[in-house]
Amino acid sequence: MNLGTALQICLLFGTASLLSVGGGNSVVPEIQLRAVDTYHWLTAAQFGDLFAIAQAAPGPSMLLVTLVGYKAAGIAGALLATVAMILPAGVVVHLVARFWQSSDGARWHVAMERGLAPVAIGLVAASGAVIARTTEHSPAQFALTAAATLVLCATKLNPLFLVAAAGLAGWLGLV
Protein backbone atom coordinates (compact mmCIF):
# COMPACT_ATOMS: atom_id res chain seq x y z
CA MET A 1 0.00 0.00 0.00
CA ASN A 2 1.50 3.33 -0.96
CA LEU A 3 1.34 6.35 1.32
CA GLY A 4 -1.14 8.20 -0.89
CA THR A 5 -3.71 5.42 -0.73
CA ALA A 6 -3.19 5.05 3.02
CA LEU A 7 -3.87 8.75 3.51
CA GLN A 8 -6.95 8.59 1.29
CA ILE A 9 -8.30 5.65 3.31
CA CYS A 10 -7.66 7.40 6.63
CA LEU A 11 -9.20 10.64 5.43
CA LEU A 12 -12.29 9.11 3.82
CA PHE A 13 -13.21 6.67 6.58
CA GLY A 14 -12.03 8.87 9.45
CA THR A 15 -14.34 11.62 8.20
CA ALA A 16 -17.17 9.18 7.51
CA SER A 17 -16.76 7.87 11.07
CA LEU A 18 -17.46 11.26 12.61
CA LEU A 19 -20.29 11.98 10.17
CA SER A 20 -22.04 8.65 10.67
CA VAL A 21 -24.69 10.05 12.99
CA GLY A 22 -27.59 7.64 13.38
CA GLY A 23 -25.57 4.61 12.37
CA GLY A 24 -23.17 3.48 9.67
CA ASN A 25 -25.76 3.39 6.90
CA SER A 26 -26.10 7.17 6.89
CA VAL A 27 -22.65 7.61 5.28
CA VAL A 28 -22.86 4.79 2.73
CA PRO A 29 -23.79 7.21 -0.10
CA GLU A 30 -20.77 9.40 0.69
CA ILE A 31 -18.41 6.39 0.84
CA GLN A 32 -19.82 5.10 -2.43
CA LEU A 33 -19.27 8.47 -4.12
CA ARG A 34 -15.64 8.74 -2.99
CA ALA A 35 -14.63 5.10 -3.45
CA VAL A 36 -16.23 4.73 -6.88
CA ASP A 37 -16.17 8.17 -8.51
CA THR A 38 -13.29 9.99 -6.81
CA TYR A 39 -10.70 7.27 -6.12
CA HIS A 40 -11.85 4.59 -8.63
CA TRP A 41 -11.09 1.79 -6.18
CA LEU A 42 -14.04 -0.24 -7.50
CA THR A 43 -17.12 -0.06 -9.72
CA ALA A 44 -20.61 0.87 -8.57
CA ALA A 45 -21.80 -2.70 -9.21
CA GLN A 46 -18.97 -4.12 -7.07
CA PHE A 47 -19.85 -1.63 -4.34
CA GLY A 48 -23.45 -2.86 -4.37
CA ASP A 49 -22.31 -6.48 -4.09
CA LEU A 50 -19.95 -5.67 -1.21
CA PHE A 51 -22.82 -3.87 0.55
CA ALA A 52 -24.92 -7.04 0.30
CA ILE A 53 -22.04 -9.20 1.58
CA ALA A 54 -21.49 -6.91 4.59
CA GLN A 55 -25.21 -6.95 5.38
CA ALA A 56 -25.42 -10.73 5.28
CA ALA A 57 -22.20 -11.51 7.18
CA PRO A 58 -22.25 -11.60 10.99
CA GLY A 59 -21.22 -8.47 12.84
CA PRO A 60 -21.89 -4.79 12.18
CA SER A 61 -22.89 -4.02 8.58
CA MET A 62 -20.43 -1.12 8.61
CA LEU A 63 -17.74 -3.75 7.92
CA LEU A 64 -18.55 -2.72 4.35
CA VAL A 65 -15.59 -0.37 4.82
CA THR A 66 -13.33 -3.38 5.50
CA LEU A 67 -14.22 -4.72 2.06
CA VAL A 68 -13.78 -1.36 0.35
CA GLY A 69 -10.38 -0.94 2.04
CA TYR A 70 -9.47 -4.48 0.97
CA LYS A 71 -10.21 -3.69 -2.67
CA ALA A 72 -8.29 -0.40 -2.42
CA ALA A 73 -5.11 -1.73 -0.78
CA GLY A 74 -5.33 -5.40 0.22
CA ILE A 75 -5.32 -6.72 3.78
CA ALA A 76 -3.47 -3.67 5.15
CA GLY A 77 -6.03 -1.41 3.49
CA ALA A 78 -8.87 -3.46 4.98
CA LEU A 79 -7.49 -3.17 8.52
CA LEU A 80 -6.65 0.52 8.13
CA ALA A 81 -10.16 1.29 6.82
CA THR A 82 -11.77 -0.62 9.69
CA VAL A 83 -9.72 1.18 12.34
CA ALA A 84 -10.27 4.57 10.66
CA MET A 85 -14.02 3.95 10.64
CA ILE A 86 -14.20 2.88 14.29
CA LEU A 87 -11.68 5.03 16.16
CA PRO A 88 -12.82 8.68 15.74
CA ALA A 89 -16.49 7.99 16.54
CA GLY A 90 -15.42 5.51 19.21
CA VAL A 91 -13.47 8.19 21.11
CA VAL A 92 -16.50 10.49 21.02
CA VAL A 93 -18.82 7.72 22.22
CA HIS A 94 -16.46 6.70 25.02
CA LEU A 95 -16.17 10.27 26.34
CA VAL A 96 -19.92 10.88 26.19
CA ALA A 97 -20.64 7.49 27.79
CA ARG A 98 -18.20 8.25 30.64
CA PHE A 99 -19.95 11.54 31.29
CA TRP A 100 -23.37 9.89 31.10
CA GLN A 101 -22.40 7.08 33.47
CA SER A 102 -20.82 9.49 35.96
CA SER A 103 -24.06 11.48 36.16
CA ASP A 104 -26.03 8.45 37.34
CA GLY A 105 -28.52 9.59 39.97
CA ALA A 106 -28.76 13.20 38.76
CA ARG A 107 -32.33 14.27 38.11
CA TRP A 108 -31.79 14.97 34.42
CA HIS A 109 -30.18 11.55 34.05
CA VAL A 110 -33.15 9.86 35.72
CA ALA A 111 -35.54 11.85 33.53
CA MET A 112 -33.69 10.90 30.36
CA GLU A 113 -33.47 7.24 31.29
CA ARG A 114 -37.14 6.96 32.22
CA GLY A 115 -38.47 9.30 29.58
CA LEU A 116 -36.52 7.91 26.66
CA ALA A 117 -37.26 4.25 27.48
CA PRO A 118 -40.68 4.29 25.76
CA VAL A 119 -39.11 6.16 22.83
CA ALA A 120 -36.36 3.54 22.53
CA ILE A 121 -38.93 0.72 22.59
CA GLY A 122 -40.87 2.46 19.80
CA LEU A 123 -37.62 2.71 17.82
CA VAL A 124 -36.83 -0.98 18.33
CA ALA A 125 -40.28 -2.00 17.10
CA ALA A 126 -39.90 0.43 14.19
CA SER A 127 -36.57 -1.08 13.16
CA GLY A 128 -38.20 -4.52 13.14
CA ALA A 129 -40.98 -3.20 10.90
CA VAL A 130 -38.57 -1.45 8.55
CA ILE A 131 -36.33 -4.52 8.18
CA ALA A 132 -39.40 -6.70 7.62
CA ARG A 133 -40.60 -4.36 4.88
CA THR A 134 -37.30 -4.48 3.01
CA THR A 135 -36.41 -8.15 3.47
CA GLU A 136 -39.69 -10.08 3.71
CA HIS A 137 -41.58 -10.72 0.50
CA SER A 138 -43.52 -13.96 0.95
CA PRO A 139 -46.48 -14.94 3.19
CA ALA A 140 -44.33 -17.80 4.52
CA GLN A 141 -41.72 -15.31 5.75
CA PHE A 142 -44.36 -13.20 7.51
CA ALA A 143 -45.83 -16.34 9.08
CA LEU A 144 -42.36 -17.42 10.24
CA THR A 145 -41.72 -14.00 11.80
CA ALA A 146 -45.12 -14.04 13.55
CA ALA A 147 -44.66 -17.55 14.90
CA ALA A 148 -41.07 -16.91 16.03
CA THR A 149 -42.13 -13.68 17.74
CA LEU A 150 -44.80 -15.54 19.71
CA VAL A 151 -42.37 -18.28 20.73
CA LEU A 152 -39.68 -15.77 21.81
CA CYS A 153 -42.19 -13.69 23.82
CA ALA A 154 -43.82 -16.66 25.53
CA THR A 155 -40.82 -18.91 26.23
CA LYS A 156 -37.17 -18.71 27.24
CA LEU A 157 -36.06 -20.80 24.29
CA ASN A 158 -32.57 -19.90 23.06
CA PRO A 159 -33.14 -17.96 19.81
CA LEU A 160 -30.27 -19.88 18.19
CA PHE A 161 -32.57 -22.91 17.84
CA LEU A 162 -35.05 -20.78 15.92
CA VAL A 163 -32.27 -19.26 13.81
CA ALA A 164 -31.00 -22.73 12.89
CA ALA A 165 -34.50 -24.02 12.12
CA ALA A 166 -35.29 -20.95 10.01
CA GLY A 167 -32.00 -21.23 8.12
CA LEU A 168 -32.83 -24.86 7.36
CA ALA A 169 -36.34 -23.91 6.23
CA GLY A 170 -34.86 -21.28 3.93
CA TRP A 171 -32.29 -23.69 2.56
CA LEU A 172 -35.05 -26.22 1.81
CA GLY A 173 -36.99 -23.51 -0.01
CA LEU A 174 -39.86 -23.48 2.49
CA VAL A 175 -39.82 -19.71 3.04
Binding site: P60, T66, M112, A125, S138
Partner: protein, 192 residues
Protein backbone atom coordinates in the same frame (compact mmCIF):
# COMPACT_ATOMS: atom_id res chain seq x y z
CA UNK B 1 -22.73 -1.21 44.08
CA UNK B 2 -23.09 -0.25 40.47
CA UNK B 3 -26.33 -0.80 38.72
CA UNK B 4 -26.34 -4.19 37.12
CA UNK B 5 -23.98 -5.00 40.01
CA UNK B 6 -20.73 -6.07 38.46
CA UNK B 7 -17.57 -7.34 40.02
CA UNK B 8 -14.41 -7.05 37.94
CA UNK B 9 -15.04 -8.59 34.53
CA UNK B 10 -11.96 -9.77 32.67
CA UNK B 11 -11.06 -8.18 29.33
CA UNK B 12 -11.06 -11.65 27.75
CA UNK B 13 -14.59 -12.27 28.98
CA UNK B 14 -15.71 -8.90 27.57
CA UNK B 15 -14.20 -9.68 24.19
CA UNK B 16 -15.63 -13.22 24.19
CA UNK B 17 -19.07 -11.91 25.09
CA UNK B 18 -19.19 -9.47 22.19
CA UNK B 19 -17.71 -12.05 19.85
CA UNK B 20 -20.61 -14.30 20.83
CA UNK B 21 -23.08 -11.47 20.13
CA UNK B 22 -21.56 -10.80 16.71
CA UNK B 23 -21.55 -14.45 15.63
CA UNK B 24 -25.06 -15.17 16.91
CA UNK B 25 -26.45 -12.23 14.94
CA UNK B 26 -25.70 -13.76 11.54
CA UNK B 27 -28.64 -12.54 9.46
CA UNK B 28 -29.48 -9.59 11.72
CA UNK B 29 -30.95 -8.90 15.14
CA UNK B 30 -27.72 -7.47 16.58
CA UNK B 31 -29.54 -5.18 19.04
CA UNK B 32 -31.74 -7.99 20.27
CA UNK B 33 -28.74 -10.29 20.71
CA UNK B 34 -26.81 -7.56 22.55
CA UNK B 35 -29.70 -7.12 24.97
CA UNK B 36 -30.17 -10.84 25.48
CA UNK B 37 -26.52 -11.42 26.30
CA UNK B 38 -25.70 -8.20 28.20
CA UNK B 39 -28.95 -7.89 30.20
CA UNK B 40 -30.42 -11.41 30.46
CA UNK B 41 -27.40 -13.72 30.37
CA UNK B 42 -24.62 -11.64 31.97
CA UNK B 43 -26.70 -9.24 34.08
CA UNK B 44 -24.24 -6.40 33.38
CA UNK B 45 -27.02 -3.85 32.96
CA UNK B 46 -30.69 -3.31 33.72
CA UNK B 47 -33.19 -3.02 30.88
CA UNK B 48 -33.61 0.67 31.72
CA UNK B 49 -29.91 1.41 31.39
CA UNK B 50 -29.65 -0.72 28.26
CA UNK B 51 -32.46 1.22 26.56
CA UNK B 52 -30.97 4.60 27.43
CA UNK B 53 -27.51 3.41 26.33
CA UNK B 54 -28.99 2.21 23.05
CA UNK B 55 -30.63 5.55 22.38
CA UNK B 56 -27.38 7.35 23.24
CA UNK B 57 -25.49 5.04 20.86
CA UNK B 58 -27.96 5.74 18.06
CA UNK B 59 -27.67 9.50 18.38
CA UNK B 60 -23.88 9.59 18.48
CA UNK B 61 -21.74 9.02 15.37
CA UNK B 62 -20.58 5.48 14.66
CA UNK B 63 -22.21 2.11 14.04
CA UNK B 64 -24.83 1.56 16.76
CA UNK B 65 -23.59 -1.86 17.84
CA UNK B 66 -19.93 -0.80 17.95
CA UNK B 67 -21.00 2.13 20.08
CA UNK B 68 -22.92 -0.15 22.41
CA UNK B 69 -19.85 -2.38 22.80
CA UNK B 70 -17.82 0.73 23.69
CA UNK B 71 -20.49 1.76 26.20
CA UNK B 72 -20.64 -1.61 27.93
CA UNK B 73 -16.88 -2.22 27.82
CA UNK B 74 -16.18 1.29 29.09
CA UNK B 75 -18.68 0.95 31.91
CA UNK B 76 -17.14 -2.29 33.13
CA UNK B 77 -13.41 -1.74 32.51
CA UNK B 78 -12.76 1.76 31.20
CA UNK B 79 -10.84 2.43 27.97
CA UNK B 80 -9.29 -1.02 27.88
CA UNK B 81 -12.69 -2.61 28.36
CA UNK B 82 -14.12 -0.55 25.51
CA UNK B 83 -11.27 -1.62 23.24
CA UNK B 84 -11.66 -5.28 24.24
CA UNK B 85 -15.39 -5.20 23.54
CA UNK B 86 -14.88 -3.62 20.10
CA UNK B 87 -12.15 -6.10 19.17
CA UNK B 88 -14.43 -8.93 20.32
CA UNK B 89 -17.36 -7.61 18.32
CA UNK B 90 -15.46 -6.96 15.10
CA UNK B 91 -12.46 -9.34 15.12
CA UNK B 92 -14.00 -12.53 13.79
CA UNK B 93 -16.53 -10.73 11.53
CA UNK B 94 -13.63 -8.83 9.90
CA UNK B 95 -11.95 -12.16 9.11
CA UNK B 96 -15.22 -13.54 7.73
CA UNK B 97 -15.90 -10.57 5.41
CA UNK B 98 -12.28 -10.70 4.24
CA UNK B 99 -12.69 -14.34 3.23
CA UNK B 100 -15.99 -13.51 1.52
CA UNK B 101 -14.40 -10.50 -0.17
CA UNK B 102 -11.47 -12.60 -1.38
CA UNK B 103 -13.89 -15.20 -2.83
CA UNK B 104 -16.01 -12.47 -4.38
CA UNK B 105 -13.14 -10.75 -6.17
CA UNK B 106 -11.68 -14.09 -7.31
CA UNK B 107 -14.94 -15.67 -8.52
CA UNK B 108 -17.18 -12.69 -9.09
CA UNK B 109 -19.73 -14.11 -6.67
CA UNK B 110 -20.07 -15.49 -3.14
CA UNK B 111 -21.36 -18.89 -2.04
CA UNK B 112 -25.14 -18.91 -2.32
CA UNK B 113 -26.53 -17.93 1.04
CA UNK B 114 -29.61 -16.05 -0.10
CA UNK B 115 -32.13 -18.82 0.56
CA UNK B 116 -30.73 -19.57 4.02
CA UNK B 117 -30.74 -15.86 4.84
CA UNK B 118 -34.41 -15.52 3.88
CA UNK B 119 -35.32 -17.78 6.79
CA UNK B 120 -32.80 -16.36 9.25
CA UNK B 121 -33.75 -12.76 8.56
CA UNK B 122 -37.38 -13.56 9.35
CA UNK B 123 -36.26 -14.79 12.79
CA UNK B 124 -33.98 -11.77 13.27
CA UNK B 125 -37.04 -9.57 12.76
CA UNK B 126 -38.95 -11.72 15.26
CA UNK B 127 -36.13 -11.23 17.81
CA UNK B 128 -36.40 -7.49 17.34
CA UNK B 129 -40.16 -7.54 17.94
CA UNK B 130 -39.74 -9.85 20.95
CA UNK B 131 -37.16 -7.43 22.37
CA UNK B 132 -39.69 -4.59 22.05
CA UNK B 133 -42.23 -6.78 23.86
CA UNK B 134 -39.88 -7.82 26.68
CA UNK B 135 -38.55 -4.35 27.41
CA UNK B 136 -42.02 -2.87 26.89
CA UNK B 137 -43.59 -5.17 29.47
CA UNK B 138 -41.41 -3.46 32.09
CA UNK B 139 -41.25 0.12 30.85
CA UNK B 140 -44.73 0.68 29.39
CA UNK B 141 -46.91 0.82 32.48
CA UNK B 142 -48.82 4.05 31.97
CA UNK B 143 -50.79 5.76 29.24
CA UNK B 144 -48.17 8.49 28.60
CA UNK B 145 -45.47 5.82 28.21
CA UNK B 146 -47.60 3.96 25.68
CA UNK B 147 -48.33 7.20 23.83
CA UNK B 148 -44.61 8.11 23.64
CA UNK B 149 -43.81 4.62 22.36
CA UNK B 150 -46.58 4.70 19.74
CA UNK B 151 -45.67 8.17 18.47
CA UNK B 152 -41.99 7.18 18.22
CA UNK B 153 -42.91 4.06 16.28
CA UNK B 154 -45.17 5.96 13.88
CA UNK B 155 -42.67 8.76 13.25
CA UNK B 156 -39.85 6.29 12.64
CA UNK B 157 -41.51 3.36 10.85
CA UNK B 158 -44.45 4.95 9.05
CA UNK B 159 -43.40 8.54 8.38
CA UNK B 160 -39.66 7.72 8.18
CA UNK B 161 -38.67 10.89 10.06
CA UNK B 162 -34.86 11.05 10.55
CA UNK B 163 -33.79 10.20 14.12
CA UNK B 164 -32.49 13.68 15.14
CA UNK B 165 -35.75 15.29 13.97
CA UNK B 166 -37.81 12.62 15.69
CA UNK B 167 -35.95 13.11 18.98
CA UNK B 168 -36.29 16.89 18.71
CA UNK B 169 -40.06 16.37 18.58
CA UNK B 170 -40.48 13.59 21.15
CA UNK B 171 -37.63 14.03 23.66
CA UNK B 172 -38.81 17.31 25.25
CA UNK B 173 -42.23 15.80 25.96
CA UNK B 174 -40.62 12.60 27.26
CA UNK B 175 -38.29 14.53 29.58
CA UNK B 176 -41.10 16.72 30.87
CA UNK B 177 -43.15 13.62 31.58
CA UNK B 178 -40.33 11.74 33.31
CA UNK B 179 -38.76 14.59 35.33
CA UNK B 180 -38.63 13.20 38.89
CA UNK B 181 -39.65 16.33 40.77
CA UNK B 182 -43.00 16.74 39.16
CA UNK B 183 -44.21 13.17 39.44
CA UNK B 184 -45.11 10.89 42.32
CA UNK B 185 -43.13 8.03 40.83
CA UNK B 186 -40.12 6.87 42.83
CA UNK B 187 -36.67 7.57 41.34
CA UNK B 188 -35.36 5.19 38.69
CA UNK B 189 -35.57 1.60 39.81
CA UNK B 190 -32.34 0.11 41.11
CA UNK B 191 -33.50 -3.44 40.71
CA UNK B 192 -31.20 -5.67 38.65
Amino acid sequence: MNRGGTAEVSLARLAATFCQVALASFGGGLSAWSRKVVVEDRGWMTDEEFLSAMTLCRVLPGANQVNLAIYVGGKLRGVRGAAAAVVGLTGVPVLIVLVLGYLYFRNGSVPATQSILRGITAVAVAMTFAMAYKTGAKALRSLPAWALCAVSFLLSAVFRVPLPVMLAIVAPVALWWAWPARSDRPPASRLP
